[in-house]
Symmetry: C2
Subunit: 224 residues, 2 copies
Amino acid sequence: MRTRFHQGLDQLKQKLLTMGGMAEQAVERAVEAYRRRDAELCRLVFEGEPAINIMEREIDELALDLLAMQQPMAIDLRFITAVMKINADLERVGDQAVNIVQRAQHSLELPEVELPADIPRMAGLARDMVRRALQSFIDARPEAAEEVLKMDDLVDNMNRDIHAAMVDHMKRVPDALQQALDALLIARNLERVADHATNIAEDVIFWIKGADVRHHFGMNTVQP
Amino acid sequence: MRTRFHQGLDQLKQKLLTMGGMAEQAVERAVEAYRRRDAELCRLVFEGEPAINIMEREIDELALDLLAMQQPMAIDLRFITAVMKINADLERVGDQAVNIVQRAQHSLELPEVELPADIPRMAGLARDMVRRALQSFIDARPEAAEEVLKMDDLVDNMNRDIHAAMVDHMKRVPDALQQALDALLIARNLERVADHATNIAEDVIFWIKGADVRHHFGMNTVQP
């Protein structure tokens, strides 16, 4: 028989997964809106943001309720507080989606141009990192989180390449300066999405590994 | 006589203030390095980053220790978990300082140009927001946090103005394109610093007010 506390933990895990799905979908839609120059899809991303913020608060409240309900074991304590940290990162992934859509909207007002920047590919990788980081937490697999950290280098390189290509394009084709700048800024937003995935992965390694390798959590553990 | 738990809470507060000071100083130095084209100051910001990351982990561990030490009262529970959230925001303020210094280093390699962008003024405002947001938390004054939220509009406007001015400059003075882009990107970094201050202020309002106005923290509080 499951206790009320453990049912709450399951509920917390489920809500965090839902939150992850919402944030990831927002990024997917934002980039799709940019690629297809789709004003309707832009609107959907803007309209979806409050739901992500509400979910963030719900998860925090549930986490607080669980912490208050009983004296959690050290491993549960680390789990619950890690949820709160990851929750904040997912909310900011949603913020990045909004930033991307703002650039997409701006681009819509400008003539369409061809740019040597594969934004959808970069977006796919960044979203994959978010999904994997969250899954590594749910599965409590720090080794899967390590994989996410490696992917971050790829995204960083893509961002650097797009940055250089767009600066070069701005110089060569001044008429497309604003469009190239929008692509450069969207690449930076995606790099930040990947950073949030990296934060989540680092939390998984720190929180989950820490819970495994340490035997107690007395005050002395924080002293040098 | 203070209990060990309350001494721990005081220590947590002190460490968070130290962390805030470190993050704020990193932003100050980064912008100063950019303004003065000072490679040595750039180096100092890079070298200071690990200390901020270590402090973040120390604060998290201390917070976990306090949560594990005894069944905290609801108000202490909210305080400790708010510290963990704010801690993450301050660490990311430090990350923004590193991003700024990367642009500053890049600018150093380019000829010096005059740009119509008052980065130091924007930086002063963003740093002020971080300091005030943290102070509103330490003082448990949600009304001071509300003031921080209002300041964010000012910073957003500055960012928009600098963005527009730099795009205009890039078009008119193609030779200074990269320098103008660096200024535009630094303004965005500062806008993100202000966003972190806003996050902290929102947490203060949510966590502290929530602790005051609500009488219990049972599971039902998260149900719609």
